[in-house]
């Protein structure tokens, strides 16, 4: 079991009112599982992913990562778990605009202290795997949106994570490119036995998963 969420709740305070973005969510993710969280905008998908990705702390409940209660840990330990075990893919790709494609892929490895030579070698392999071997030295602004998301996928895989968190990975893409990207992600995760949790409001994208959850008003169904 990679992830186990128990009665996970996140409440935001806006003025005098409270918003339960995530409400008593229980969830288990095994190695190699592909899970999709399907729901409309504002349902709490992103907040749930942020909690699972250890970016946010819950108001109540527990989240276990490989059996460890993560929110009892120091922020620095949580950061290392994120760096070494979780790969993030964002809707707007979030590539660093000043770095080339290969440098963006090298970034998580550089943060992990991997040697420059090993960084370069692995980044080249990953970019080949996502079909961008000829675009390695291009800046994000020189790439198409589909190519940018491919670079983001390669970056997410850089430190051989156990879990990929993809928040609306096809949100900025046209239907054809979106389905290419989601299939690529699916295949790469299957090849490497990596668990993936995808948040989407697109039913077709949600269907690639082994398990589909519906999220509504902060509750997982």
């Amino acid at each position: 079991m990679i992830i186990e969420a128990r009665r996970l709740t996140k409440i935001y305070h806006v003025g005098s009112s409270q918003i339960r973005a995530v409400n008593n969510v229980n969830l288990k993710i095994e190695r190699g599982n592909i899970i999709s969280i399907f729901g409309s905008s504002g349902a709490g998908k992103t907040t749930l992913l942020n909690l699972i990705g250890l970016i946010e702390e819950p108001t109540s409940g527990k989240l276990f990562f490989n059996g460890t209660d993560t929110f009892t840990l120091d922020e620095n330990v949580r950061r290392k778990i994120r760096l070494m075990n979780i790969g993030f893919i964002f809707q707007t790709f979030n590539l660093l605009p000043q770095l080339t494609a290969i440098e963006n892929v090298e970034l998580p490895m550089a943060l992990a202290g991997i040697t420059l030579h090993q960084q370069r070698e692995k980044a080249m392999t990953l970019l080949k795997a996502v079909g961008l071997e000829k675009r390695m030295n291009h800046l994000p602004k020189q790439l198409s949106v589909g190519e940018m998301q491919r670079v983001a996928i390669a970056r997410a895989l850089a430190n051989d994570p156990q879990l990929i968190i993809a928040d609306e990975p096809t949100g900025e893409l046209d239907t054809k490119t979106g389905s290419e990207i989601i299939n690529l992600l699916h295949d790469l995760c299957r090849e490497r036995n990596i668990a993936m949790i995808v948040a989407t409001h697109d039913e077709k994208i949600a269907k690639i998963a082994d398990i589909i959850y519906q999220m509504r008003d902060g509750k997982l169904e």
């Binding site: 809707q91 707007t92 979030n94 000043q98 970034l107 430190n159």
Partner: protein, 388 residues
């Protein structure tokens, strides 16, 4: 990827803003170096003057302006020397002419372009507080031989044995004084008789150096001189220092004031530019933290950016500031700028250069702290959510 490489790319990405910021810092360092060099040159000259005539009494005409041991103008009858010799506890008396020349060729200058010293040739060692290196020989003929300082010789391409014309008199250059002294390097040194003849001080001088006996009370001798000859002013070493200390303190005060002003202006400029950079990079920082970068590394990135700006601005400022200092010194003295550039380390001392660079880097580091803390406090989930 190294942090510095990312920072350089960040700066390159916002090049117009960064160039303007570097330009601002460069201007600040130019002012710091340019005015600092002029200031430190004046201070150095005044401090150097302290080294002349230690433990001796300087006698000048009353109410004459005296900078350390050296009078500006004034006139004393030469016969007064014999009267001074008769004062109790006076060991030796040397008459002297000291003239500040504010004209070089056809150009008037703000600061003296050179100095003329006339004194008995057998007492030349009185004006050498530093052991000088003489190219050639000391003058032996009191009617036509002179010494000149190295800076004057270099300026006019003079060498020993050359004949030069001064106020219509043809003089022979017996030697060139090479000494680590701003005053001596700009001096023309000759016999007292010759200087009286050239500058029309007929049987007149403008200062007397009085050497007291070994254990004599210097203050008492000075008082005795002033009470005996009412139109003379006798200055002991302490009194001379008291005359210049307020000037040196004033210079130091303005120097510190200028540095503080430049520090505050530069710090505000850098902090503003860097806060703008950080605001625009919030998504990048949030992404970096999300994928596992520590907040400390974000802090370091912002600090590295400001330090890089400081290094660029500081080095450019030092380079152009040195040139500006040379032009200021040249326009104030009338000495060609090339001479100052050749010996730029005399004008902009290594100490001043290190001080300017250190101050620039310190300013950048301190002003980088505010934007770095701003970057440190980013709410990652909020920033990432805002981008969707």
């Amino acid at each position: 990827m190294r942090v510095t490489a990312i920072c350089l790319r960040n700066l390159k990405r916002r090049r117009l803003r960064v160039i303007l910021c570097i330009f601002g810092i460069t201007l600040a360092v130019i002012v710091l170096v340019g005015i600092g060099a002029a200031n430190s040159r004046i201070t150095a000259i005044m401090k150097e003057m302290n080294l002349f005539f230690e433990d001796e009494i300087i006698v000048v005409q009353r109410d004459t302006i005296v900078i350390q041991g050296f009078p500006i103008g004034g006139m004393i009858p030469e016969g007064m020397v014999d009267e001074l010799k008769e004062i109790e506890d006076v060991n030796d008396v040397t008459p002297m002419i000291f003239i500040l020349n504010f004209k070089l060729g056809q150009t008037f200058s703000v600061f003296p372009a050179n100095v003329t010293v006339g004194l008995p040739l057998e007492k030349l060692d009185l004006i050498f507080p530093f052991p000088p290196k003489i190219e050639g020989t000391l003058p032996t003929d009191p009617n036509k031989e002179i010494l000149v300082g190295g800076s004057i010789a270099d300026q006019y391409d003079l060498s020993t044995g050359d004949t030069i014309s001064l106020n219509g008199y043809n003089l022979t250059l017996s030697g060139i004084v090479r000494a680590p002294s701003i005053i001596l390097s700009r001096s023309t040194i000759m016999s007292l008789r010759l200087s009286q003849k050239i500058y029309k001080y007929t049987r007149q001088i403008n200062m007397v150096i009085v050497k007291p006996d070994a254990d004599a009370d210097v203050k008492k001798i000075a008082s005795e001189i002033e009470s005996r000859i009412h139109y003379l002013m006798a200055l002991t070493e302490d009194e001379r220092n008291n005359l210049t200390d307020p000037i040196l303190n004033e210079l130091k005060f303005w120097d510190y004031g200028m540095k503080l002003f430049l520090f505050l202006v530069s710090a505000t400029l850098i902090a503003t530019v860097e806060i703008m950079n950080v605001s625009e990079s919030r998504r990048d920082f949030a992404t970096l933290i999300a994928i596992g970068a520590s907040r400390l590394s974000i802090f370091k990135m912002v600090m590295a950016e400001t330090v890089l700006i400081g290094i660029f601005g500081g080095c450019l400022g030092l380079l152009f500031g040195s040139l500006v200092a040379a032009f200021i010194a040249s326009s104030c003295t009338g000495i060609p700028v090339s001479l100052f550039i050749q010996s730029i380390s005399d004008l902009v001392s290594p100490y001043l250069a290190i001080e300017a660079l250190t101050l620039t880097l310190a300013t950048c580091c301190l002003s980088g702290v505010i934007p770095a803390v701003f970057a440190l406090k980013i709410n990652v989930s909020e920033v990432l959510r805002a981008e969707y």
